[in-house]
């Protein structure tokens, strides 16, 4: 600060300038336009959501009008020439939920383990590498996961399924009517594929929350004689459970919207698979849209639009709830 020259006499003696107007708004026109343009950009996200809803609804209306509420819960889909269109998406919604649920059940322990490992067990260098790898997994396109799932993972998963069926076949979930033509393309495999795809997002939310936990609390618990296990059960999990649940819901939202990867590994059929996870038939709204789209006529396209609308509304709600929970459990992120 030594470079400042002492003030000259003249500058001190000049009369005080007129009192400046104090206001919180932008002062110059340039600023006004700056903030105006950024807020237009920001409000565009509302416009985008509204546009998606409006256009899908416009195109879905004929089908929705014709099929009524049964579109959501009914379980028939007839779209052949010469027969009246009957489109009811019920089994596919159920299938999406089933697969997403399996995926979440598989992904949650993995994601929490990874987050725990990264935050509490690895040194900072290894933790950084692990985080990068997880982010890379998140960036993998779903078509590549589908390719891998179809070729590499399905044979492995079939051997797991055979083992499960052989040893735990008495359990209703793992019952199979005819082992000859079961296992391939089952919801179990699709659930695993979905799990691979949502592990990164659940991990990154959980990691963020773990890393912001009060270190004194953990060290205090350790000093009182707790082991890693008791500290994890009694301190880490209770204090972070809200955010972790939010992260899991975010993963659920992603899992519901998964399209191409599931399309490859799942045998899509239109009967409800009530929980025989190893039987080779299942469904998903997004994959159903992709499967039917190619040969669909105008009437069926409208039905598929309606299916997309239902999917969008479901994921919007799940994501909204998830984000609310996550944001509430990460108060340090508010600026």
């Amino acid at each position: 600060m030594g470079k400042l020259k002492p003030m000259s006499e003249s500058s001190v003696s000049t009369p005080a300038p007129a009192r400046r107007k104090l206001s919180a708004g932008p002062l110059s026109t340039g600023d006004k336009w700056f903030f105006r343009s950024t807020s237009i950009a920001a409000y565009f996200s509302f416009v985008l959501v509204a546009l998606v809803l409006i256009f899908l609804f416009l195109k879905a209306w004929p089908a929705l009008q014709e099929q009524g509420v049964a579109f959501v819960y009914g379980n028939t889909w007839v779209a052949e020439d010469g027969q009246p269109l009957v489109m009811q998406i019920g089994p596919m919604i159920y299938g999406s939920m089933l697969i997403a649920l399996i995926g979440v059940l598989i992904a949650t322990p993995m994601a929490i383990s990874l987050a725990y490992m990264i935050v509490f067990m690895l040194g900072s260098r290894l933790a950084k590498i692990a985080t990068t790898l997880i982010d890379l997994l998140a960036a993998l396109p779903s078509v590549i996961i589908g390719l891998w799932g179809f070729y590499v993972f399905t044979p492995v998963a079939i051997s797991w399924e055979t083992t499960l069926h052989n040893y735990l076949g008495w359990f209703p979930l793992f019952q199979v009517e005819n082992p000859e033509n079961a296992f391939r393309g089952s919801p179990f495999i699709a659930g695993w594929i979905v799990a691979v795809m949502i592990v990164p997002i659940v991990t990154s939310v959980t990691r963020e929350i773990f890393s912001q936990l009060d270190k004194d609390l953990i060290n205090g618990a350790l000093a009182l004689g707790g082991s890693r296990l008791t500290v994890f059960n009694k301190v880490i999990l209770p204090t972070s459970s809200g955010g972790v649940v939010g992260g899991i819901l975010l993963g659920l939202g992603r899992a519901l919207g998964e399209t191409v990867a599931i399309f490859y590994v799942l045998q899509i059929s239109f009967n409800i698979n009530w929980g025989n996870l190893l039987e080779s038939h299942g469904g998903g709204v997004a994959s159903w849209i992709l499967a039917r789209f190619g040969e669909a006529g105008d009437g069926e396209i409208s039905g598929l639009m309606a299916a997309g609308l239902v999917l969008f509304v479901i994921t919007l709600i799940v994501n909204f709830v998830a984000n609310t929970i996550v944001n509430r459990s990460q108060p340090w992120r508010k600026n």
């Binding site: 807020s39 998606v52 899908l56 990874l114 490992m117 078509v143 399209t259």
Partner: protein, 358 residues
């Protein structure tokens, strides 16, 4: 008043030679026993991993823990073993994806595969002919247009979220987050409904529009993080010197956050470059090379993979793997570049911090 220096007692470090041997044994023995069992009896290796290896490893680690720390050592061991097991599982899956794509894809990869297009190629054509050149051109053009649309808007959103004092910021953030969960197939259907409503012809530009809602939230979120990293002191100092907000942004914040914003761009690109469903719904496939995204059909890498995987011929699947590898290389390149820039940024910011503290 002088004390003899005490020997450094470190009661928390209880590892001695015996214990080290125990630790090594506990890490090796369960694996050896399981491997031996699998070889000897021929039971399924995944079953052996769950039923034999995992319990053995827990018992072995628990024994070491108990030996060192008493009862609480057992809990430690249980948690550590389970955590490492699950983490290793994810790592193995990730590596499996990479290895399979690289080994299978490299069989198809050659200069001609990268440059030729798909005209006159059928499912059974030898891999010596044809390639993904047209798909690479299409993907780059379509994703490039998406980038031009999404990046300025995403950054403007991030500016709104970080620089303005508007009360609606929370709502905007929530909606943007909700948008990031938009299923890709819904985005495709949305653009398809626009095409049908106005009677447009399907072309590359609609693929770009269908990718746009998927890229926007990613760019906005990463750009927001990048802008938040710039110390608010810098901005406040610029404002205090009399600069209007927009000058403070363009001359102070933007240069400081430049690499972070480029990272936002790259991660957004990596997010959409492999999206398949929106392109299948909005762009018709094309075996020839098309340089015009505004007219006619266009081929893209994901659609190429999808098309050849849907066939039942082995040679066709080879092509799918090859295109998958090209896609993977593109994603990994974008991702690596983003990370590299991110690291360069954090290295640069260190000396400035030191200066500021003086």
């Amino acid at each position: 008043m002088s004390f003899a220096p005490r020997p450094a007692v470190q009661p928390w470090k209880r590892a001695n030679t015996n214990r080290r041997i125990l630790i090594v044994l506990a890490s090796i023995l369960p694996l050896l026993i399981t491997a031996g069992l699998v070889i000897a009896t021929g039971i399924d290796s995944s079953l052996a991993t769950i039923v034999v290896f995992l319990p053995l490893q827990v018992i072995a680690a628990g024994f070491v823990g108990f030996n060192a720390y008493g009862r609480r050592g057992f809990g430690d061991a249980l948690l550590v073993v389970v955590t490492i097991f699950f983490s290793a599982f994810v790592l193995i899956m990730l590596l499996s994806v990479f290895l399979s794509v690289i080994t299978e894809g490299s069989k198809a990869l050659s200069l001609q595969f990268l440059t030729q297009n798909n005209v006159y190629i059928s499912n059974t054509t030898s891999l010596e002919y044809g390639g993904v050149g047209n798909a690479i051109v299409g993907t780059l053009l379509i994703v490039g247009i998406t980038t031009i649309l999404a990046v300025p808007l995403g950054i403007a959103m991030a500016v709104y979220l970080t620089q303005s004092q508007s009360k609606l910021r929370g709502v905007v953030r929530t909606v943007t987050q909700a948008l990031s969960g938009l299923p890709s197939v819904v985005s495709g259907l949305f653009v398809l409904s626009i095409i049908v409503t106005f009677g447009f012809e399907k072309s590359g530009i609609f693929g770009s529009i269908a990718l746009f809602p998927l890229m926007l939230p990613t760019v906005a979120r990463v750009a927001e993080e990048a802008l938040k990293l710039v110390p608010s002191d810098l901005r406040l100092a610029a404002l205090a010197l009399g600069a209007p907000n927009y000058k403070a942004f363009f001359q102070v914040i933007l240069p400081a956050a430049k690499s972070g914003l480029v990272t936002a761009l790259l991660l957004g690109l990596a997010r959409v470059i492999g999206e398949t469903a929106p392109l299948l719904l909005t762009v018709n496939v094309n075996n020839g090379t098309s340089w015009d995204p505004f007219n006619g059909p266009m081929e893209t890498l994901p659609a190429y993979v999808y098309g050849y995987l849907s066939s039942s011929f082995n040679s066709a699947h080879q092509r799918a793997w090859g295109a998958g590898l090209v896609l993977l290389i593109l994603v990994a390149f974008l991702f690596g570049l983003a990370r590299f820039l991110g690291r360069a940024k954090s290295m640069k910011s260190k000396p400035t911090k030191q200066k500021a503290s003086k």
